[in-house]
Each structure stands twice: as C-alpha cells, then as structure tokens.
C-alpha cells in the first residue's frame, strides 16, 4: 500500500521513494496522507514531517513551510527550507540568524 513521495528543494531532490504514510504539518493542523488520496493542494507551516514505511518511521524532517500537491498517487512537496532531523543543530540556525543580521547591516552600509 505505498505511493510515491517526492521532496524537492531548490538545491536538490531531497527524497524520491515509495512510502506508506506521510504526516505533514499542515497550515490548519497536521494531516496524514495514505495511498489513493484525492487530488489535494495545501501549504505547510513550520513543523515536523514524518515518513513511515512498513509500519516503521523511516525518516523525519524539520520543515519551514512548503507546498504539497497530491495527484494520481503521487505526492510532491516543494520546500525551500528542510533539514533532516538527524542533522538538525540549533547552532546552525543561530549562525544563520547572525549571518542574516550582518547582511542587513552591510546592506544599509552600501545604500
């Protein structure tokens, strides 16, 4: 009872495999997708994404927004900001905040 899940980010195709169940952090609450879902389009909030296969959790991601499209037993997730929860480190995010802050300063400097 599996369907194809494709996770695409601007940098790469993060995942493309057959799965049984995906739980998305939808904008109006979490929702799970199984096989033979009707055509569906929604977007996501910041949260956790769980992927199950053979009744086991095989992977989870931390995701900051994205768009989910489901049609013909194919589920596509487009997201700009996704991290495997195994690789998630608070420090990376703090670094990124610092980087963005310093960019703001240098922008004003140039203008």
């Amino acid at each position: 009872m599996s369907f194809n899940l494709e996770i695409i980010s601007p940098q790469q195709i993060v995942l493309n495999q057959d799965v049984d169940l995906v739980i998305f952090p939808g904008v109006e609450g979490d929702f799970g997708i199984l096989k033979n879902h009707m055509p569906f389009l929604t977007y996501l909030r910041l949260g956790l994404l769980y992927i199950y296969k053979d009744k086991k959790l095989i992977q989870s991601f931390i995701i900051n927004g994205g768009i989910v499209e489901i049609s013909d037993n194919k589920c596509s997730l487009l997201t700009e900001d996704i991290t495997d929860s195994k690789d998630f480190k608070i420090k990376d995010k703090e670094d990124r905040i610092e980087r963005l802050k310093s960019k703001l300063v240098s922008k004003f400097y140039y203008a």
């Binding site: 695409i8 601007p10 790469q12 904008v27 389009l41 977007y43 499209e69 487009l78 922008k107």
Partner: protein, 290 residues
C-alpha cells in the same frame, strides 16, 4: 626599430599575460561546470512549481487576485539588473549595461518612472551616476561561495512589498540567459504583475484539487514562491553565463597572445639575423680593406 633586448622583454611580458589568461580560462571552465550543475539542480523545483501554478491559475475562477494586472495606468517600473561582480568576461557586463540603458530610455520616453535594484557590482558602478535617486537596493558578492536561495527570497520580499504598497506597478528582471558556453543572450523577464494566462491548452489535465484552506489563500502563498524561484533560476543562469563568457573571452585572449608571441619571435629572430649579417659584412669589408 626596437632593440633585441626590448623585443625579448616584450615577448616575456606577453608570455606571462598568456599564462594568466590561460589559467583564468581553466578556472572559468571549472566554475562553469559547477554553475551549470547548480542550475540543473534547481530545474525540478522550478518545473514542478510552474506546473502547479499553471494548473491553479488556469482553473481559478476569480480573476482579480492581488498579483494580477492593475486597473489604473501604470507609472512606476522597477528594473532588477543582474550583472557580474568581476570584469574580464568579454562583452558580458557591457551587453547587460547596454540592454538596461536601452530599456530605461524606452520606458523613460513613455513617461514612466524607473526604479532600480542592482545585483552585482559591475552594472551598479557604471549605472549609478545615471540613476542616483532611484536605486532601491544593491546586492554584491552573491556568488561567494555559491548563490543562496535566501537572496532570491530577500529580493522577492522587497518587490512584493513595493508592489502591494503600490509603489511599483511593474517589475522586470534583466539577466543573461545561458544558451551554451559560447552563446548567451541578455533578456528581460516580467515578474509582476502576472501576465494573463493564454487559454490555448486549457483542457490539458485540468484537475480539480481539494484545497486547504482555500484556493485564494493558496494562490497568494504559492505565487511569491514562484517569483522567488524565478529570480533564483535567473541568478543561476546569469552566473553560468558569466563563467561561460569569461571562458570564451580568456580562450580568445590566450589565442591572441599565442599569435603575438609567434609574430614577435619571428621578428626577433629576423632582427637578430640581420644584426649578425651586418656585423659579418662589416668584418669582411674591414678585412678586405686592409
């Protein structure tokens, strides 16, 4: 006529120039490969996003969503000009600058106000005198070490803010489309407002989606993302074009340096021979005179 020493110096200086240009060519070729790879990696995302937006906009019933054409006369136009941070890449920067100047002139003649956002140093430094007060923003060093998606989002946020505040009525992105390593074309792409979609292939796969929360909210969520990815792909194409252009320019320069070295060496040998012959004649005629 230059002395032999002058010629020798000249040859060695051309040789060292040749070394630099051929090294730059090699570096550009490596960077081009990487830039092309990056551009290709973005393609699936852009393609999927395009498909979703297409099928959405085709099936939508409400025609007056907020990123569409405005009813009032357009007055303010925003140009986003993407160029390189460095020179020595043939006609790459100058063709962007020329194109931008032409476009600005046409629009100014039609009575529109122009605003600018610059990405990349070269166009900024050569155009900033012409458009002092109308520069909204300027970004540089974007490809160091690689183009981040954050930058595209940043530009997107900026233009959407201006568009929704009615500060601008139209937004164009000027960049160089990468055809191949030796051919690139400067072109402009309209980001905002969204063009009215052609109704020719409307029957093609018109799925009726279930929306959550509803169609309009999703449209307003998805269109900014689509704009960001358009900007991002344009920046990546621009980088690939820059490297391709630099590669060909440096290839030409290396070839020209080779020709120059050949000519100079020939000239050098000739004058050396002439000098020897002259000295011999002097000695022989001196000996005959004795």
């Amino acid at each position: 006529m230059p002395s032999l020493k002058d010629l020798r110096n000249r040859i060695s200086s051309v040789k060292s120039t040749k070394k630099i240009t051929s090294a730059m060519k090699m570096v550009a070729a490596a960077k081009l490969k990487r830039a092309q790879d990056n551009a290709e990696k973005t393609r699936p995302y852009a393609k999927k996003m395009g498909e979703i937006v297409d099928s959405l906009v085709k099936n939508t019933k409400n025609q007056n969503f907020k990123f569409g054409e405005k009813k009032e006369n357009k007055k303010n136009i925003l140009l986003i000009i993407c160029s390189a941070d460095r020179g020595l890449c043939g006609g790459f920067n100058s063709s962007i600058i020329k194109f931008s100047k032409k476009l600005s002139k046409e629009n100014a003649e039609n009575g529109y106000n122009l605003n600018y956002i610059f990405v990349g140093k070269k166009a900024y430094f050569s155009l900033k005198k012409n458009c002092k007060d109308s520069i909204i923003d300027y970004f540089s060093d974007i490809a160091n070490p690689s183009i981040k998606f954050e930058l595209a989002s940043l530009i997107r946020d900026k233009i959407l803010e201006l568009f929704l505040k009615n500060s601008i009525d139209e937004c164009h992105l000027i960049y160089t489309k990468f055809n191949s390593a030796i051919s690139q074309t400067v072109q402009s792409m309209q980001l905002l407002p969204l063009k009215n979609i052609q109704e020719d292939n409307i029957e093609k796969k018109s799925q009726s989606y279930d929306f959550e929360p509803d169609e309009e909210v999703i449209l307003n969520e998805i269109i900014p993302r689509n704009i960001a990815i358009q900007i991002h792909t344009a920046l990546l194409e621009n980088l690939a074009s820059e490297q391709g252009s630099r590669m060909t320019a440096m290839d030409n320069a290396t070839r020209n340096a080779n020709d120059m070295i050949d000519n100079l060496t020939l000239f050098y040998n000739r004058s050396r021979q002439a000098l020897i012959t002259k000295e011999l004649i002097e000695i022989i005629s001196g000996a005959e005179a004795v």
